[in-house]
């Protein structure tokens, strides 16, 4: 524990040194700039040849001048790299520090539990899902009315009457569409006021249906770009699946890493 603290202290000290060094470099650049400015002034206007001052003409306001190139450049590459290296190891240091704390059993005791994975299926597992199971999940979504209901309910619970007005379906016709969604667990009905709610699973299913629509439309529009058929669109990994096509309606979930460049 104390070793970790010492290490962190050393690294903080290193950052301070780097900052100090940068400050000195900045100071040197400023002095160099000052010297260059002064020597340029002397060359252009020797003191004894300076003409008498004339009244200045009225200043014209024109377009801004392009920036003058300036010779001095501070190379921060070294600093950037060293900081990146330091930060890359930060997580491991935090983990190591926490492990160190665990040793002080007199004051701190961590609960013994194991993290259980869910929703993690390998590519092989996913590809083994038989058509009947896929149909079980997708068939409740296979109607425009049911999708409208899911979309309508995402804003909050609604009564039967509200859904009648929204979908244009009434009575048993609406019930005919509600039952498959209820059976699939995509919606639930509160018995107190007869309010229908979309469940977490229902919202997930609807969003994935939208995502599927987006992917398929993209592929239909843009083709496979020469990739073999089994490489198109979606790649599986041990942690689930990953979208590899270019997003046509990118959301925050599938944007590439933001870069200021």
């Amino acid at each position: 524990m104390s070793d970790d603290i010492d290490r962190i202290k050393e690294e903080l000290e290193e950052v301070r040194r780097l900052k100090e060094s940068l400050r000195k470099e900045v100071e040197e650049v400023r002095e160099e700039k000052e010297r260059l400015r002064e020597s340029g002034e002397r060359r252009r206007h020797p003191r004894h040849e300076r003409p008498p001052k004339k009244p200045l003409p009225p200043k014209k306001i024109g377009p801004p001048h392009p920036p003058r190139p300036y010779g001095a450049t501070i190379n921060l590459e070294g600093l950037t790299e060293s900081l990146e290296e330091m930060m890359d190891g930060l997580g491991e240091q935090i983990s190591a520090s926490l492990k160190g704390i665990e040793g002080i059993e007199a004051n701190l005791r961590f609960p013994q539990f194991k993290v259980k994975h869910r929703h993690k299926k390998s590519r092989r597992d996913i590809e083994k899902i038989p058509p009947e199971r896929v149909a079980e999940v997708l068939s409740p979504l296979g109607s425009e009315e049911r999708l409208k209901i899911l979309d309508f309910l995402k804003d909050g619970g609604k009564s039967f009457n509200e859904m009648e007005a929204h979908t244009g379906k009434t009575g048993s016709s609406l019930t005919h569409h509600l039952n498959p969604l209820l059976d699939a667990g995509y919606i639930i009905k509160g018995q107190v006021r007869g309010t229908y709610y979309v469940t977490v699973v229902g919202r997930l299913a609807y969003r994935l249906a939208q995502w599927l629509t987006s992917r398929v439309e993209y592929q239909l529009t843009n083709g496979t770009r020469g990739k073999p058929e089994d490489e198109v669109g979606v790649e599986f990994d041990e942690g689930g699946f990953e979208d590899t096509t270019e997003p046509s309606d990118a959301t925050s979930d599938n944007y590439p890493e933001e870069d200021d460049e």
Partner: protein, 241 residues
Amino acid sequence: MARLEVDDAIMATSQVYRPISTDKAIVELDPGCVWSYVTLDDRRVGIVFAGSARFVVDAIAETRAGAVGKSESGALKGVQLLFYQPDIEEHSRSAQNEDLRRAGYGDQAEFRSDAQSVVGRHDQKSEDFEPEGKIFLGNDESETKIVLVLKDEEMVLTYGKRVYVVSDAKMVSVGGDGVSVTNSDGRNLLVTKDGIQGLEELENLGERISTQVARAVRRSMKKLDRYASRPSEDDDFYEWG
């Protein structure tokens, strides 16, 4: 110990009456349900009733990711206790023998005795007992115990071995499959005998911190690089504190 007492007057509902009727829960009594006030130091603190009645509770929380939970409902059987003073008297009359017989009692004394045995289990430590919100203690027809507490938008339901706590689009439920905690974003933590589900992200916490901090530093440095190499008349930029 402050003793809860069943009042002498035995009444019966003259119409369908709901002593509890909120967006989340309803307790409904059919006409002919026999009931009496429950007193604590001669102060009315609730009612006790028996007869044809039912309950329905929406133990459902609407999170931003969708709804979680379920409805629980059933018919009530036996003596039910409600700590809350509804306006039930306005929908009642004196109990008749027919009412008592339908509720399973030969006469008023039998009902009072049965009711007192139930009420007596909840004697209070202090005479200052003032129930907050509505507290319903009952049994359904399969002898499953029900405890329902309603206060403002918050609700606690214990129904058999299941417990639901619903508040502000958040829910905690306890049942045979473990303890489930769901926040208003719909994120769910499930604690079971075999472990905890929903903490997968913590496994690579260190790596994630590294990535995020390194990314932030990289961006800052790129910005700094650009400023450092640009022509500038403003040296104040380099004035570090």
